[in-house]
Symmetry: C2
Subunit: 153 residues, 2 copies
DNA sequence: AATGAAACGATCGATTT
DNA sequence: AAATCGATCGTTTCATT
């Protein structure tokens, strides 16, 4: 870890974010370098964990995941014990794509992607039966205006 | 579009989500098929837009993006004109990683990834000077419990 | 759906700057 | 120390069966 990242690294990461399928030669040309140094930098960035995963982004609707909810959670329980159980439950449920612990009066936010509203209800019932939560608000997405994983390097 | 997706397609997509860098042979072995049919299916899935992008997921903190906000927006304006302008503003701002139009009394939710709280304020001031919004609540993430782009196929 | 071959790209060591 | 070159090996791509 603790790798110093310079402008060339950022350019390379930008290219990989944009299209991870392009060849080394192509990336090298675009960033104004050549194959070997680019390859060495990518290797180091992977080792350091800066590049976490190489993946494909899929069209959720085409695959039948037509409902996306943002779930705001307030809890009264703040004991380590309860939290451990809650986090474990979230990590184990594959329909929870994102989960964050928040500052302020809302304690957690989740992004939950499911087939339909009924599937959300099933998820919700299962979650509250596993762990006690004080208050839950579900926000239903009507339209995905934008969705990207690309950091603005 | 309108491609029929069967179980074999789903298995292949699952493998690609898990690790898009693995070779065709490896994917074929894992899904119990062989190179050519797997290759043909992947090609069709790309053409149909089911596979939208091949990319790398980066460690935001390692790259200095230490602040993540979820922004809840209420607006009084609901004219087509205003909306066009608002959506355009969101799409053009690279710090907005996600934006959804919602059902219910909150109209929009954004996920905004920036270097620090000051950078968020800059973003916020720029946004509200571009388009009128009625009410904005920013939720600051203290901890990313989970973050994945993998659909549970 | 399998085979196999040609084109292409990744990887890495040797050589040069 | 770091870039270039080039050999080798593996992979993709696609025509044929």
């Amino acid at each position: 870890m603790a790798l110093r990242i310079d402008d060339m690294d950022k350019k390379i990461l930008g290219e990989l974010q944009r299209d991870a399928a392009q060849s080394l030669d192509e990336i090298a040309k675009r960033v104004g370098s050549s194959k070997t140094p680019v390859w060495n930098r990518i290797r180091k960035l992977k080792e350091a964990g800066v590049i976490r995963q190489q993946t494909v982004l899929l069209d959720a609707e085409a695959l039948g995941f037509e409902a996306c909810f943002f779930v705001l959670i307030r809890t009264s329980e703040h004991e380590a014990d309860w939290q451990q159980k809650f986090l474990k439950a979230l990590r184990e449920r594959p329909e929870v794509l994102e989960a964050h612990r928040l500052a302020g009066d809302i304690d957690y936010i989740l992004k939950v992607q499911v087939q339909n509203a009924r599937a959300y209800d099933t998820f919700y019932q299962a979650l509250i039966s596993e762990v006690k939560v004080h208050n839950v608000t579900a926000l239903l997405s009507m339209e995905e205006i934008k969705s990207t994983s690309m950091l603005p390097l």
